[in-house]
Symmetry: C2
Subunit: 468 residues, 2 copies
């Protein structure tokens, strides 16, 4: 793997923090807190004029005083002081900077000029910059996270993210860390993106063994040709999905005012994504959902879906959702129907959607699921489960541990995707979601969100297996 | 309000349960449990050959022995015994039956013939039937719920529902009761719908003072002309929204096999809904969401939206979602911008979406919200809140009670709709959702679901204010 200069950002042996602060809540304080919270094993050099130490980490009065050339430097000084910071880094020999400070092109004309000057100074000194106006950087395999937002420990996962904004990524990350059960691998906030851009990162993440899938949030593409070239190569190796905001005219206007960039014509974007093999995600909710599915499940080998539903009507709604999002309701084999009908009650015949009637005991469910997974005509199983606790049914009460049969079964079918959707009691939903997701079975509320996420994953497969 | 015979179903003075059972989990047992759990104030007459009492309610060995003519009769005997039950009811003079038993047209040809025979017998005796193959009936203003599913107490609300299925309605209700914070008014499960149909119920709910909005789940429309006539009248008085499954060919095939009915051509349905003034809902998730919004908020007077967002990017995504679902990002007045800029930090200018920057203290948020609500050009506010607890910011920690300012403010602007979307920590999300929803402010996760629900509500307004 050739080093394009990105390694220093994601696997730094040492980190310098210019503008480190003792004041709780300040960016230069949060960065130290986050680095420490993630168990970073390299050396940390906070730069602060007056403090001896911050959270127990020895401080240095100036960049000059730092006893080594740090691999990575976080810059948290006010924008007015950032040119000075660049000079000091240049003198020091520091080559990789993440600038979390704001007050540049996103604010004013003079800020834009300052930003240009920053870039020139950095280029002269062969310094690479991420940002400015970014909220930070994360690299969980390296036990390292430096955000200006109080995220604390970030769970490790296989999904790497590139976001052309700051707050957005961290707010979303806070939700994922507390409301979902998947982790991330590398996260880069591009902010105003004066230097390091999405194309370079796609290239880097493409060759990164820790990265299983790549998720982008963009408001515009910086360099179309470079983007297509990078993504076209990488999207054959691993899934690349992107949410590109500013689809509508109102969205575009909003995007212009907030990252000081012209939102590109949306059709050009669609066409670029198609050429690049990037699956375009509609909507914020879908972005979180596809991130979860790509983190937990294999990319499906095809689009043939078996739907197991506790109600005929939910099965119908699921069939609708499948067809509308590009999946097919599978034709199960005669053998499968025969085996299913053996355990079905007399008043029902197995079809697809498979109407799992009222509430069978879990052994019956398990048997049916096995039959469905064994069917060669099925690539994806949408399992809608209706869970109630504490009600006598069949052989006894359903406990969350009973659901462990699902991930156990999946181990025997490693190329099949299963999405669980859980209806019923909220408490049990939450408990089952945690239990199943910790075992890599993604859980959603019925009916559409999980199916749409599976459909996006299938579209990744189409790009991964394209001939050229 | 003329009595079309529906009153007996929703406001019965007495209820007979044929097939009442002592066995926990059986339909005839659950019905008694549910009736008792909801504080029904009328008389209950369980019919059971052998039991003296069920859950303390005195039983009668036969229909003949019941000492009065009950307003409503629940029939929970096996399908084979249902013709007998009809005869007994005819002899007794009972006129309103809810048949929760299954084993009719949804199962077999002979079941279909039995069902036809049932209907003939009922017609001869001037008996009205809801079902068969329904899961029950609910009428919270009457403190009455009779479902075969262990729902227990159902919260009272203003939304009345009509569902052409059984399990589906109860599964959804269980989720609403445990995962959402709104209640329902009347709920009718139509099941195989041999007699009482959606048109009749729309008519009844249209004149029902307790019903604020009507939600339908249909797989087909029984009688197009009758449906259009009823809904056209009622949709001018109150919102009527419907999810009609079987949109796609796979969905249609699934619908056919499960309610033994031909799913109608989807375009004809669209056209019928338009003529009828019924807003068609896409997807199950949206159905629950619009139910919540119609339960808690006024139907918006227009489609001009102000978006308050904690991140520029979320604002952009929200603007996209608004335009795509038929809402408009409002042009705020110069006066509003001026007032907002007074409290905005120097590095930001107020626009719409209104970028509420990092995390203002809640007083600032409140001031901005007031300015936005005061703007005559705003009909709907999408307030995306980024909540973290326990972090020092501004004047102190944000507590869930601080959010009480939102419903308080809304009292001054009764014709404006507000949808809250909460990002950040899951725990605080759950706490804030409960707190706000108990005060009639609907809460969603960012970004699309709340906006789409608001858009459906706006489309109801368009039908309510149409000229003819």
């Amino acid at each position: 793997m050739k080093d394009t200069g990105m390694r220093k950002f994601f696997e730094p042996e040492s980190i310098m923090v210019i503008g480190a602060s003792e004041t709780l809540g300040k960016a230069g304080n949060m960065i130290i807190y986050n680095i420490l919270s993630n168990g970073y094993e390299g050396r940390i050099f906070p730069v602060n004029h007056t403090a001896d130490q911050i959270m127990g980490v020895k401080c240095y009065p100036s960049v000059e005083d730092v006893p080594t050339v740090p691999d990575l430097t976080l810059v948290a000084v006010p924008s007015a002081a950032s040119l000075d910071a660049i000079s000091q880094c240049a003198a020091k020999g520091a080559k990789a900077l993440v600038m979390v400070n704001a007050g540049f092109a996103e604010v004013s004309e003079s800020g834009a000029r300052l930003q240009d000057a920053l870039l020139r100074a950095a280029r002269d000194a062969k310094i690479r910059i991420m940002g400015p106006n970014t909220s930070g950087i994360t690299s969980t395999p390296w036990k390292f996270m430096a955000s200006i937002y109080p995220l604390g420990h970030v769970k490790r996962g296989r999904l790497s993210c590139i976001a052309q904004t700051g707050n957005f990524a961290t707010i979303t990350m806070k939700w994922i860390l507390t409301g979902e059960n998947f982790g991330v691998c590398r996260v880069a906030g591009l902010g105003n993106r004066i230097d390091v851009d999405e194309s370079e990162l796609i290239d880097y993440f493409g060759d990164d063994k820790e990265t299983g899938a790549i998720l982008l949030y963009l408001e515009e593409i910086k360099n179309g040709r470079k983007f297509i070239e990078a993504a076209r190569r990488v999207s054959k190796i691993k899934p690349v999905v992107a949410m590109k905001s500013g689809r509508t005219s109102a969205g575009s206007r909003a995007a212009i005012s907030h990252t000081a960039s012209l939102a590109a014509n949306d059709r050009i974007v669609d066409s670029a994504f198609r050429q690049a093999g990037v699956v375009r995600i509609d909507g914020y909710k879908n972005m979180v959902n596809i991130g979860k599915v790509l983190s937990m499940q294999p990319v499906p080998r095809g689009n043939r879906v078996a739907i197991m539903s506790p109600s005929g009507a939910m099965g119908v709604a699921a069939a609708d959702a499948c067809e509308r999002s590009g999946l097919k309701v599978a034709q199960l084999s005669d053998r499968t129907y025969e085996l299913l009908n053996k355990v079905f009650p007399s008043f029902l015949k197995a079809g697809n959607p498979i109407d799992m009637w009222g509430a069978p005991n879990f052994e019956v469910y398990e048997t049916c699921l096995r039959r469905v997974l064994e069917d060669d005509g099925v690539d994806i199983v949408i399992s809608i489960l209706h869970l109630i606790k504490g009600t006598a049914r069949g052989k006894g009460m359903l406990k969350v541990e009973d659901l462990g049969a699902i991930p156990e079964l999946l181990k025997e079918f490693p190329d099949k995707m299963l999405i669980a959707e859980i209806a019923g009691e909220k408490d049990f939903y939450e408990e089952a979601k945690k239990y199943l997701e910790e075992r890599s079975v993604p859980v959603f509320l019925p009916v559409e969100p999980g199916i749409e996420a599976a459909a996006y994953a299938y579209r990744c497969r189409q790009y991964m297996s394209r001939p050229d």
